[in-house]
């Protein structure tokens, strides 16, 4: 089973390698960098939601922790970006542990609301703790990160860097789900009673995966800070948490590829919509970015009502069905 995922990674690797040769425009590379950052957070969220079956509506807070740890430590303490990123990871993991232990005893709606509350509180802190976060004014002059002495300060370089991290994240994710731990998680999702009866410490696993997904989010946040070189509380609001959940759900909850697909698709969606709006104008319909919110909501609702496995899941099912049909046809002919 597993090899397909690793083949997929190879395909993605080739696509990433080739992309800057085809896409010569830094602007689109920049958009794809944001897609990569969302991907990273969504992979972590997908491990939590799709595999461990636990919802989090506060994941933007972990992105924020990563971003602010990176921002604060590089700007105010003068640490290197890598050290700051590592510190962010530990900080996120620590916060996830503290919040996760009580929160993950809760189920379903309670957990959703608890994480939502947690996310809101952290956002309020980011706005109010001006001495650390710079408050609404934010932190600027965050340095670029460098790798082997090369500063990643162009879009092409950062594009490769961010997608390389996504590939590493995918690699860890796939290893995990095809391992003892991953099976334990999926078992937990299938039947918590049965999983327990086989010796799986369900509570501990939920917390571990929550911590892991917070680490993914934190790295995504650190990269954001090094890419934009400026952070303020805006992008780490509850709305962004909801958007991440939307990405995972639209792509397909139960497949990591779904999360990747959903993240890329929804990051690019405003681009599509704005270029469509130019076409719409020709035929006399005025499309305004005001409608974006509505379109996001409609897409999410339609997917959840009619394609609960998400676009990627639905896509996969369709291909399966098609393959089955072809096979049967071939057999019938022989």
């Amino acid at each position: 089973m597993g090899w397909k995922n690793y083949m997929g990674m190879l395909v993605l690797f080739l696509m990433v390698a080739a992309a800057p040769l085809i896409i010569r425009n830094d602007y689109y590379l920049g958009v794809l960098v944001f897609a990569a950052l969302n991907c990273l957070a969504c992979i972590g969220l997908c491990l939590l939601m799709g595999y461990a079956g636990q919802i989090s509506l506060g994941h933007a807070a972990f992105i924020g922790i990563g971003a602010y740890a990176s921002g604060y430590m590089t700007v105010r303490l003068g640490l290197s970006p890598w050290t700051a990123m590592a510190a962010g990871i530990f900080l996120s993991a620590g916060v996830a542990l503290i919040v996760g232990i009580p929160a993950l005893r809760l189920k379903g709606h309670y957990l959703a609301m608890a994480t939502l509350g947690f996310g809101s509180i952290l956002h309020i802190v980011a706005v109010a703790a001006i001495d650390i976060t710079g408050g609404p004014g934010g932190l600027n002059n965050i340095p670029a990160i460098s790798l082997f002495g090369i500063a990643l300060n162009t879009d092409t370089r950062f594009f490769y860097f961010s997608w390389a991290i996504v590939l590493i994240g995918l690699y860890f994710g796939f290893n995990l789900i095809h391992s003892r731990v991953g099976r334990g998680l999926r078992a937990l999702h299938g039947s918590e009673d049965a999983a327990g009866s086989l010796g799986i410490n369900t509570a501990s696993y939920k917390i571990q995966i929550f911590v892991l997904s917070s680490v993914y989010a934190s790295i995504s946040g650190s990269l954001y800070a090094y890419y934009i070189n400026y952070i303020d509380p805006g992008p780490f609001s509850v709305m962004h948490s909801v958007l991440l959940v939307t990405m995972v759900a639209v792509g397909g909850l139960h497949k990591i590829w779904g999360a990747v697909f959903g993240a890329v698709l929804l990051t690019l969606l405003p681009e599509f919509l704005s270029s469509f709006s130019e076409y719409f104008q020709v035929i006399g319909i005025e499309y305004k970015p005001d409608y974006d919110t509505l379109i996001y909501g409609l897409i999410l609702l339609i997917i959840m009502l009619f394609l609960p496995e998400g676009l990627f899941g639905g896509f996969g099912d369709a291909i399966h069905a098609l393959q089955g049909k072809m096979k049967r046809l071939r057999e019938a002919r022989e």
């Binding site: 602007y27 004014g137 970015p289």
Partner: protein, 383 residues
């Protein structure tokens, strides 16, 4: 699985390429604009967008600049940093603009500074916070047209000294604008020997500032400065009225939208705030050098869009004219535009601009007029 991924890749690439087909005529002067047209800060971006579209049309109908048409590329930041960064990149890399106007908000302006600095494209921000152009050594390519918040603070403090007010409370909205103003208020207070006895904040989503106001009242403040740009600021005078607080309320130039005065209702009467003269053009003396420009803009805007002008649209007006004049003088080379901007002079809506290599704003405190609210209207303060 492999096939499907490949398919997705192909579709994405195709869609991306389709967008770049649209381009303007080769000889046009291309200027980019990034405004918060939608989203929570749309009250800033909407008048800005309307203003630049109106002026650009006017310029083009008059034959363009040096025979070139002025082509505007307007992007919506939705008041969001990520989108603003994307938008500025798009303008620079995809639309090849020679200068950028905007963004509307202080936070988004800060977010895009590194990009224009690196790409070496001049940017004229329409946002208030002074840090956008200070320190000038690190802001070689960045300019802004709204008046400086430090000058606004000075005008308020001077007025207070005149009235014998020493102990004041401050309350600010938790946005980039509010935060920057709060810092300036605290930094400059000592210069005027003013005591800040209470320092409170409220979030843009806040609905009731009673708690903050009671604290300010108890701290013995003789006047209150409400520094904010969000609509929630008009709740402060209402709450004060409900609490029967009768100390003088000062607002910042972020109050410069007549809708805010209307939303404050009767409670708004008597608020004092420094702002550009655009808001009170009717009560200006005829010999004021700005009056002609102001009246012209105001009349055109109000006839065309059937809504009251705000200072925010005025900032976009000034920015666009600065760029248009520079284009006229030196053509569309970004470096030359930058140099030209640094020696520009303009009688604008925000004041009389005199930019220099050391001052990328070019306004001083005389750009402000002390205004007051009278029955939901702004008038020049008489005493």
């Amino acid at each position: 699985m492999k096939k499907s991924l490949l398919m997705i890749g192909v579709v994405i690439v195709l869609l991306l390429m389709s967008g770049s087909v649209l381009f303007a005529g080769e000889k046009d002067y291309r200027v980019g604009c990034v405004f918060a047209i939608t989203g929570k800060a749309s009250w800033l971006g909407e008048p800005e967008m309307k203003t630049v579209e109106m002026i650009a049309r006017e310029i083009n109908e008059a034959g363009g600049i040096n025979g070139h048409k002025l082509k505007l590329f307007i992007e919506d930041s939705q008041g969001d940093n990520t989108r603003a960064v994307n938008a500025v990149k798009k303008l620079i890399k995809k639309n090849n603009v020679c200068a950028i106007i905007g963004p509307s908000r202080s936070g988004t302006s800060m977010a895009v500074i590194p990009i224009v600095q690196k790409a070496q494209i001049p940017l004229i921000s329409c946002a208030g916070a002074e840090v956008i152009v200070v320190p000038v050594e690190e802001r070689k390519w960045v300019f802004k047209t709204p008046q400086k918040d430090s000058d606004c603070v000075r005008r308020i403090y001077e007025h207070m000294i005149e009235k014998g007010i020493k102990d004041i409370g401050i309350i600010s909205g938790t946005t980039g604008f509010g935060n920057a103003g709060r810092k300036q208020l605290k930094d400059i207070a000592a210069e005027y020997k003013i005591n800040i006895v209470a320092d409170e904040t409220y979030s843009p989503a806040d609905t009731d500032m009673t708690a903050q106001l009671v604290k300010i009242k108890n701290a013995g403040a003789m006047a209150l400065v409400n520094w904010s740009i969000v609509p929630a600021q008009s709740i402060v005078p209402q709450n004060m009225k409900h609490l029967k607080m009768d100390i003088q309320l000062y607002q910042s130039h972020g109050f410069g939208n007549v809708k805010y005065a209307k939303a404050a209702g009767a409670a708004g009467n008597g608020i004092i705030f420094p702002a550009g003269r655009l808001l009170a053009v009717d009560s200006l003396p005829d010999d004021n050098p700005q009056k002609a420009v102001l009246l012209g803009y105001k009349n055109k805007y109000e006839t065309k869009f059937n809504e009251t002008v705000s200072t925010f649209g005025g900032h976009a007006y000034d920015s666009l004219w600065l760029v248009a004049n520079a284009l006229k003088a030196v053509g569309d080379n970004p470096e030359k535009i930058r140099e030209q901007l640094e020696k520009s002079e303009l009688v604008g809506t925000g004041g009389i601009f005199k930019l220099s290599p050391m001052d990328h704003n070019g306004l001083d405190k005389t750009a402000f007029e002390m205004l007051t609210v009278q029955d939901g209207k702004f008038v020049v303060l008489k005493d």
